[in-house]
């Protein structure tokens, strides 16, 4: 339908830049003044506990939600101020891999992957069929073209979602928890695909994850979002080595996956008692 966009990028090798990003719901800031940059070819992993605003952040980055304030520059263009047409033009340059695949249930796997090509390119249907086969091979699902999403397991659906996100060979790939719910082998396959795409083809990846093993395997840059008392702020940012060496107790508890630490999942004894007596 629309012509493929020109690959311009006025801001050099910075693919994505977030400036003073604030998102609040009913006066409570979920994201509070975030600033970071993602450079071309990086695998940028955003980590954080449940409820830290990872998904909200991702929705803002792909233009699905307008932030309360601040700006998001994708390929040098501010998507928070872009018109819907401009936003659509920018969207053709990135792919989004949804947490649960978000596959079109009424279509087969093949049709799901073919859709972006049919809608946004003049590529011949016979070639689209080949591209679909290549994308399925990429995610280890060769031969599954004619299955409906409902006939696949959750992990397979996720991988089809990834194949669909890669259908137009985007310069930038957003992934929401790409490996959660996958078995260890498939986790490694998806991680390897991310690695190959970024290191060898030059794709940039922004991955939201709380899978530490996988994150450290793929990341070139990591960012940790705070939750609880440190909701909405960036706790740490840096290369995987810097993150490992960072002494912040909040960060270390998360990286090591320990129950005891500053990330409280229980009320203190006093508070619990108060809560029980008041509510009961």
């Amino acid at each position: 339908m629309s012509p493929a966009p020109k690959k311009t990028n006025p801001s050099g090798d910075v693919i994505l830049e977030v400036r003073d990003l604030v998102q609040s719901y009913n006066g409570r800031a979920v994201l509070n003044g975030l600033n970071f940059k993602v450079r071309k070819g990086e695998t940028f992993v955003i980590m954080g506990g449940s409820g830290c605003g990872k998904t909200t952040l991702l929705r803002i980055l792909i233009g699905a939600q307008k932030p309360t304030s601040g700006s998001v520059l994708l390929f040098g263009e501010d998507i928070t101020k872009a018109s819907p047409q401009e936003l659509d033009r920018i969207r053709l340059r990135f792919g989004m891999n949804f947490q649960f695949g978000a596959l079109f249930q009424s279509m087969t796997v093949g049709e799901n992957i073919a859709l972006p090509l049919q809608e946004h390119s003049q590529v011949d249907p016979s070639l689209i069929e080949m591209i679909v086969k290549m994308k399925l091979e990429l995610v280890g699902l060769t031969g599954f073209e004619n299955f409906k999403p409902a006939e696949l397991s959750g992990g397979m659906r996720k991988r089809v979602g990834l194949a669909r996100a890669l259908a137009l060979d985007p310069e930038l790939l957003f992934s929401d928890e790409p490996t959660s719910g996958l078995d260890p082998v498939m986790t490694a396959v998806v991680d390897q695909l991310t690695l190959d795409s970024t290191r060898k083809i030059g794709v940039t990846a922004v991955v939201v994850s709380h899978d530490m093993t996988s994150s450290f395997r793929i990341a070139t840059h990591m960012l940790m979002l705070g939750s609880g008392p440190r909701q909405g702020e960036i706790i740490a940012e840096g290369t995987p080595d810097q993150i490992r060496a960072n002494p912040d107790p909040f960060l270390q508890q998360f990286v090591r996956g320990e129950a005891d630490g500053p990330i409280a999942f229980r009320l203190s004894q006093d508070d619990y008692l108060k809560h029980l007596l008041q509510e009961g």
Partner: protein, 260 residues
């Protein structure tokens, strides 16, 4: 954002108001006439079959029953006055002007309006609508417009078909029960109504089709809160459609009554 035709097509983001939904549907259809690839015949045909053709058996059955009922009920009263020869008139006029459009519309609400609301609602819950938007595919153009066009075409067709089936129902009663000659039934049923009687019914079906499909899509696209939300939206689509169909029917009948 300055106003332009393009911004109208893309306005609203994820939340839609009912008025905006209507504007955008018409915007995309007009735009579709100027550019290829927007109104895809195969997609429209698929919807014609799913929300139109597949509802025909049920609509026919209801129309047939109504034909029976009209003929039988009127024969008891009209028979007392020896006016049985007016039964064909009564059956064909009430079907064309009123009962045909109304009953077929209500069947389609239950059969297809609810299905569209549930389907779009499920897509919303599964993030499929979001995925379309992120792929720079407008959900209104891709999902709503084919359904809209399909029902706008199919509801009048189904109503005309339903009228024919209803007339056949009346014929069965008149010929078998009252011994009326077939030729007499057909002549009376065809002669009495004027072309305007048919047109007024068709005008109603077009309005009904618009009500059914826009309400179903509106409810579906605005689902929030998982499976429970889908259920609520489906119910709302059916209830509001029937409500508005009856209101519109009253207004239109009143209008035709006053004007003509």
């Amino acid at each position: 954002m300055k106003f332009s035709f393009d911004s109208l097509l893309n306005a609203g983001g994820s939340r839609q108001t009912y008025g905006l939904l209507n504007l955008r549907i018409f915007g995309w259809i007009l735009y579709g006439f100027t550019r290829p690839g927007i109104l895809v015949p195969s997609q429209i045909l698929a919807q014609v079959i799913r929300i139109g053709v597949q509802a025909i058996p049920m609509a026919s059955l209801v129309s047939l029953s109504v034909g029976f009922i009209l003929a039988m009920q009127s024969s008891t009263e009209l028979g007392k006055m020896g006016a049985n020869s007016f039964i064909p008139d009564l059956v064909s006029l009430s079907l064309m002007r009123e009962l045909g459009p109304l009953l077929v519309a209500i069947i389609v609400v239950g059969r297809s309006g609810s299905a569209v609301a549930a389907e779009l609602g499920t897509m919303k819950v599964n993030e499929e609508i979001e995925a379309l938007r992120v792929m720079a595919i407008d959900p209104i153009r891709y999902l709503v417009v084919p359904r809209f066009i399909a029902l706008m075409i199919m509801l009048p067709c189904m109503t005309i078909f339903g009228n024919c089936v209803g007339l056949a129902g009346g014929w069965v009663v008149c010929t078998l029960d009252m011994g009326m000659p077939s030729s007499f039934y057909i002549m009376r049923a065809m002669q009495r109504p004027e072309l305007w009687d048919l047109y007024s019914g068709i005008i109603k079906t077009v309005v009904f089709a618009h009500i059914i499909i826009t309400i179903a899509c509106f409810q579906g696209l605005n689902v929030e809160g998982g499976a429970e939300g889908v259920g609520r939206a489906t119910t709302a689509a059916v209830v509001y459609s029937i409500l508005w169909i009856i209101i519109a029917d009253t207004l239109l009948t009143g209008l035709f009554y006053v004007v003509l």
